[in-house]
Structures are given as C-alpha cells and as structure tokens.
C-alpha cells in the first residue's frame, strides 16, 4: 500500500530537522463526519454546476423546493462554480495551514510534535520514557494507505503522542526507528536484555504468514483464525444464558406459541440483545486478524478487524501473566493469555496490548507463554492450568473457605517456583496467574468480618494496573502470614539479585539471571 500522493520531500528529510505529516492528514483527522459533509457539499455543487450547463435540465425553479436559500444561490452556474471553488479553497487552505504547522522530529533523545495554528501545542516525550510505539490504521486511513504512529509513554492516554498520519511505509519506518532508539534506551536500563543474549524460545512455532513478515526481525508465533475467534466470542456466558432462556421459553410454552411470545417480548429483548451484541461485536472487532510475533526483545501484536493495529510489547515491561479458560471453551481446549504491562493502563478504550492471545489452543498458549519465558514442560505451570487441588508444592485453602467459596476452594491456591509465583483460581473459569518474584510491587492482606469469623484472610500480590489480578482469597490467617513472609522474602531476594536499574547506577553488573524465565524477570 502506498500513499496516493508521493510523500513530500520535507517528510523524507533526515532527522536533524522537523518533518511533516502526510498532506491529507488534516482532512483525515477531521474524521468521517467532516469528509461526509464535505463530500455532500461538493457533490451538490458539482451537480448543480453540471445541471446548470445542461440547458434542458436547467430549470431555475427546480431548486426552489429546497427550503433554505443556500442552494438557490447555486442555481446560477457561475455562482455554483464560485461556491465550489470557495469551498474547496477554504478547506484546502485550512488543511494546508494545519499541515504546515504540524511538524515532528526525533532528535536529542526526544520525540517532539508541534501542532496547532492558534492554539499551539508542543509535546515532547523523552525516548527513555517511551513505553511502546504502535501503528494504527483507522478504516479511512487504511483506504488511503495511511497509518498513524502512536508513541505511548507512562502516564495514561493523554500523555500519548500521535503522529497522524503518515504513509504506511513511512509510518513503519518511523516506528522501527523510534523503537530502535527507545530500545537502545531500554537496553541501557535493562542490560540483561542485550540483543546477543536473547535466546530463541524453545516452544513450538506456528509458521504462518503474517503481515509482520515484511519486517525483517519479526518471527511469527501464533495467528488466530477469525473463524475460531468468532465461535469463541459467541461462546460467552451472556449469549449462552440468553440462548438457554429462549430454549426454555420455547420448550415450556410450546413451539407454536413461542414464536408469538418471542415476537411479543421482542421489544423488551432488544436492549438486552443489543447490549450483548455490542460487547461481543466490539470484542470481535478488537481481536480480529490477530497475529503475534517475536522480535529480539519484544512481542509484536497485530490485531483489529477494521482498525488494524500494530503494537509492540517489550518483554521486560510485562509484569504479570494470566492464562484463563471460561467453562465454555474447555471442550475445545481454548485459552486466553493476558498480561499486565507497565505503562499501559487498563482504563484505555481498547484493551489492546494486554491481550497476547485472544483465543488459542493450548499449544498456541504455550507458544506465547514460552515467548514470555515460561517452560511449556513446567509441571507447576501445567498444574496451575489443569490442577484440581492437593498437588504437592501447592498451598491451598483451609476447609473453612468452603463456606465462602464452595465451588473453587479446592483448586484455588498458590505455588512458588524458582523465579515466579503461580496463583490459580476458579473451577469454572480457570485462571492461572504468573508473577515473577522480581515483579512484585507490594503485598497486601485483607480481612472482612465474615472472613474474620472463619479465620480467613485474603492475600494479594499487587502488580501494575492491568487486567491480571494476582490475589489468593481466603487463606487461613496463619497461612496468609506465611504467604506474606515467603512471597515477600522471594521478592526481596529477586530485587537484590536484579539490583538497581542500570540507568540509576550505571556500574551495576546486571548479572544474567538463570535462563529459566529470564525474559520475564527484569
């Protein structure tokens, strides 16, 4: 896909100076509405111009039935032409000025964007603060072969810097360039991720064609077929409950009457179905076309049915991993993998970089996990996924927890491995959470009045904001103290081993950790 217009020379200039965005960007930034209005106005004007040159169809009174006088002006051919020229000139002029005033550059360890004519804005993001760089392609931009580059920094979505728009190839170039620069800053921060040390994960590879291949360093890992995603999205508690309700109604009332009843009840069902439908469709839109690949120190995620996004998740920013399986996915053996990433906030509109596998077979889930540093043969991991309680090495809940959690109390528990804490929960929706000891932010205990009566305490490993919740509910009181002691002790050891970040203490040797889950452990 190439830009319909050749990129202006300014945007091909080297990095020492300011570069411009694509000339069509002001129009695209205006969005669909502006374009629609503009298209309508222009087509009306063009119509009336042509009509006015056609003497047979030109009837002065023809446009009179359009109540407002605006179009009456265009009844005269010269006026119509003039209006057309003025509209195009104004829009073009405003766009041109806006385009002239929007410039960006990458220099001096910073990404800078200047924009605005009246209200000038100058945003700078230091490269070492860059958390991720992604390219996104809203549907209009996709039609024109343009992309936007979103530079994400810690501090929420309002601290993002968006370069909208660039030609698709140029955007990939800028993204790669920024990532390279930011990655260099990262490598200074995390010396154990020096490129030479990256060992290829041993997991099985799913060799599938992916559009990320055009980047040289990306090795595709998993691609999710849209058909499976569709089935998995439909297999959701809410839709199944709805289906069962309809079925039950049909069985009890009788088939013939059910049709009428359903028809009568349809208006009431509309909002429910719409609500369900919207959430399902949104999930489908966000996770469609999903593919994940591996570069040296990061995972490349591509997803989006209409808005195709390319996101990068640096491995050393992953704070916690969760593998979950709703009950409905169990017959198919499907899993979802989610992560907490430092600097990516769960409150953002789409959960883009927190889902590393929307739905995959266990082999695919293991592929993603091994890219994150887990060992697919690890018995603790397998027990975390499939165990039902009572395995050696796992600390479960006391029988008193049965009163508060009758279904899952046997399965819920935690286990300590060399580098990570494993937590498993849920009998129906199975969840397994992995938090490397070096990623534990802090520990917390909570006890409500009911728990106090039963002598239970919930323990939580606090991670950075994200979808993954690493808490063990309803441990017994002594067990919770042990949890605090043991997990805290492991975290303390891990922090000591990792030591201060090298950018704060450059002399840190950053001795490589044991090879096991090294990419997950900072």
């Amino acid at each position: 896909m190439t830009a319909p217009h050749p990129a202006p020379t300014a945007s091909a200039a080297p990095d020492d100076g300011w570069q411009r965005l694509h000339p069509l960007s002001p129009l695209l930034r205006g969005g669909v509405v502006l374009l629609a209005v503009l298209g309508y106005v222009v087509s009306q004007l063009v119509d009336s111009v042509f009509r006015s040159f056609d003497p047979e169809q030109y009837l002065p009174g023809d446009v009179g039935d359009e109540a407002d006088g605006t179009w009456a002006v265009t009844a005269h051919p010269l006026l119509a032409v003039a209006a057309l020229v003025v509209v195009i000139a104004v829009v073009g002029g405003v766009s041109w000025v806006s385009w002239r005033f929007s410039r960006f550059r990458v220099a001096g360890g910073q990404v800078e964007l200047r924009s605005g004519v009246l209200f000038r804005q100058h945003r700078q993001v230091p490269l070492e603060r860059v958390q991720a760089v992604e390219t996104t392609r809203p549907i209009l931009a996709r039609l024109l072969g343009l992309s936007q580059v979103v530079v994400q920094s810690a501090g929420g979505s309002d601290s993002h810097l968006t370069l909208a728009f660039l030609g698709a190839d140029r955007a990939e170039e800028v993204r790669a360039h920024l990532l390279e620069l930011a990655g260099r800053a990262d490598d200074r921060g995390a010396p154990q991720h020096a490129p030479g040390q990256e060992v290829a994960p041993s997991g099985p590879e799913v060799a599938s064609p992916s559009p990320t291949d055009r980047e040289p360093g990306v090795r595709p890992l998993v691609q999710v077929p849209n058909g499976r995603l569709f089935v998995a999205t439909i297999l959701h508690g809410s839709t199944i409950v709805l289906g069962l309700l309809l079925l039950a109604a049909g069985l009890t009332v009788g088939i013939a009457e059910a049709g009428l009843k359903v028809l009568a009840g349809a208006p009431a069902l509309v909002p429910v179905v719409l609500g369900l439908g919207v959430s399902r469709v949104k999930e489908l839109l966000v996770h469609g076309n999903f593919a994940i690949g591996r570069t040296g120190t990061a995972l490349r995620v591509r997803h989006g049915l209409t808005d195709l996004r390319n996101a990068t998740v640096p491995l050393h920013r992953v704070q916690a991993v969760e593998v979950l399986q709703p009950l409905w996915w169990r017959p198919w053996g499907w899993w979802r993998v989610r992560v907490n990433v430092a600097g990516v906030h769960a409150g953002d509109s789409t959960d883009d970089e927190t889902v590393l596998l929307p739905v995959g077979t266990s082999t695919e889930a293991m592929t993603v996990l091994s890219a994150l540093g887990a060992d697919p043969e690890d018995p603790v991991l397998l027990e975390a996924l499939h165990g039902d309680g009572g395995e050696p090495g796992w600390t479960g809940l006391p029988p008193a927890a049965r009163r508060l959690d009758p279904w899952s109390w046997r399965r819920t528990g935690y286990a300590l491995a060399a580098h990570s804490l494993y937590v498993r929960r849920g009998r129906f929706t199975r969840r397994a959470v992995v938090v490397p000891h070096a990623r534990v932010q802090s520990l917390a205990l909570h006890q409500g009045p009911l728990q106090a009566r039963l002598g239970l305490v919930s323990a939580t490993v606090v991670s950075t904001p994200g979808p993954v919740d690493a808490s063990v509910p309803h441990l017994d009181a002594a067990g919770a103290e042990v949890f605090l002691d043991v997990v805290g002790g492991r975290a303390r050891e891990a922090r000591r081993v990792v030591g201060p970040r090298a950018d704060e203490r450059p002399a840190a040797t950053g001795e490589p950790l044991a090879p096991d889950p090294a990419p997950l452990v900072d």
Binding site: A190, A342, L445, P465, V487, G489, D522
Partner: protein
C-alpha cells in the same frame, strides 16, 4: 520447579510457621508497631461534627416549629454521631505502621482489616498532604506511591515533623534499594 534457585530463601515450601524474618500479622504483634497521632481522631471528629450539625439543627428547628415527630430524626442523628464517635476512635486506634529493613508495613481497620507491605525499592514518590484543619492540629498524611495506584499505602495522622522525617527516610532507602519497575 519447586526446587529453589540459589538466591532463594532456604525453604521452598511455604508451609513453615515460624515467621523468622517478618512476623507481620493482621493483628499486630511485637514488632514495634507505631500508632498514629491521636489528634487524627480529633480532626475526624470535628469533620463529622461539622457534617452532622447542620441537619441536626434543621431537625431541631422543624421539630420545634412544625411537628414533634421530627425529634425521631434528631435522635437518629445523635445516635449516628455517637456511633461515628465510637467508629472513629476504633479506626484511628487501629492504624499502625512499622518500618522494617526493606518494607514499610501499614495496618488499618477493625471490621475490615487490611495490611499493605510496600518495599522501599518500589517507591516512586511520597506525598505529604495536610489540610487547614489537620495543620491546626499539627498532623499531616503521608501517601506512598508505587508503580501501581492500588498498592500505595497512605498513612494519615502523622505529626508533621515525623511525616517529613519519614519521607526523608523513605526517599533515602528507596534510593538505596531501588529496583526499577
């Protein structure tokens, strides 16, 4: 996987009951837990009183002028105030904290007990806040922020000088033990 890595604590299985290093419990213990200033209770009581006094006066006026039934509302407000007094005293006396070698531990609550243990190495920054009322009583609250908004602990009701000193100590230890993100 349960075999310990070289730098791990000696006992890999989390079954030991002698809490050698910490002994941190939800119910306190002999670690030298430090209470917060009793002035915090006074401040909170003043706030509670300020909130309750307007509806209380309103009910009294209405009861005197319109109907005696509104005395019930007055009684309810008085009961609520007394209950608040009891709760505030208990809550404030339940807040305690202790600085360990590598963590600061804050304990709160009676009915809903909670405990948060924040390693110094994870501190991002420390805020000290005090409103006008708190300043009048010479106390300030110390908010501890980590990379996760939910994990930070807040320690209300420290004497201002002590809050400043605590911030200094936390900053120094955080610098010494910093562990990145």
């Amino acid at each position: 996987m349960t075999d310990p890595a070289p730098p791990s604590p000696p006992d890999p299985s989390p079954t030991r009951t002698d809490t050698t290093t910490l002994g941190v419990t939800l119910r306190g213990g002999d670690l030298g837990w430090r209470p917060v200033a009793p002035a915090l209770a006074t401040v909170r009581l003043i706030v509670l009183g300020a909130v309750l006094v307007v509806p209380l006066l309103a009910t009294v006026v209405v009861a005197l002028l319109v109907t005696g039934w509104v005395w019930l509302g007055t009684a309810a407000l008085v009961v609520a105030g007394l209950w608040g007094l009891w709760v505030i005293r208990r809550q404030v006396s339940a807040i305690s904290w202790v600085e360990l070698d590598e963590e600061i531990v804050i304990r709160k609550g009676r009915l809903f007990r909670s405990l948060v243990s924040v390693p110094y190495g994870r501190l991002q920054y420390v805020d000290i806040q005090s409103g006008p009322l708190a300043r009048a009583f010479g106390i300030a609250s110390c908010e501890i922020h980590t990379a996760s908004p939910e994990s930070g602990g807040s320690l209300p009701g420290l004497p201002t000088a002590e809050a400043e000193a605590l911030r200094g100590r936390l900053a120094a230890r955080g610098e010494a033990q910093r562990a990145g993100l």
